[in-house]
Symmetry: C2
Subunit: 130 residues, 2 copies
Amino acid sequence: MTARASILLAHGSSDPHWLAPFEELLTTVKSHSSDIDTPVELAYMELAQPDLHTQAAKLVEQGIEHIDVLPLFFAAGRHLRRDVPKILEDIEQLWHQQGRTLTISLHAPIGMEPEVKEAISQVIARQLND
Amino acid sequence: MTARASILLAHGSSDPHWLAPFEELLTTVKSHSSDIDTPVELAYMELAQPDLHTQAAKLVEQGIEHIDVLPLFFAAGRHLRRDVPKILEDIEQLWHQQGRTLTISLHAPIGMEPEVKEAISQVIARQLND
């Protein structure tokens, strides 16, 4: 069986105030998924560390052969359709050149998931009624 | 009673694929809030139109005196703590100089609302179990 792991991917920012909620989310996810034995990490696409290269390297060193990248983005624009696939391809090639097996799957942005869309609509409806 | 309206504020992108889900969200919100008689518009902070100046002008022309700006952002970084407040202050001053009453309130980012955080955590937990 292929050893798998996931990376939560956020855009990144030079402002630590922006990063903090993503770090809290990782903590929440880890605490809710104690029955899941696949590692979960957080990476930033740009402007902050750790980046995708760093987190992928950490997971490969742990023996991981398949990484699911879950983008914490509202929608898929230039970043998720072009920049991130390029980074992931570079990472795969880098490890293949070192003789390691690594497949990375890029998932749909979290903002496009029905539950998240529904929660956003409901919060807006409530704010409009306030 | 002060005439109020709301603006959903997204970051913006030069990629129309990124913008589409926000336009769908506005449609959903409008269809769900037919019992609410306050106007709701969508604006982008940068890289796309309509921007905040355009949407605020449209609302002021309709007699609106208070605008609630609801940011469709995951977290408050440099943009929501510095850039957007500056734009909103400029808009208020512009209209005050023309003798119009206008107050703009900037709300917390939607991604910080408990329902949205919970939905995000649940979707991630489900994806980790797949």
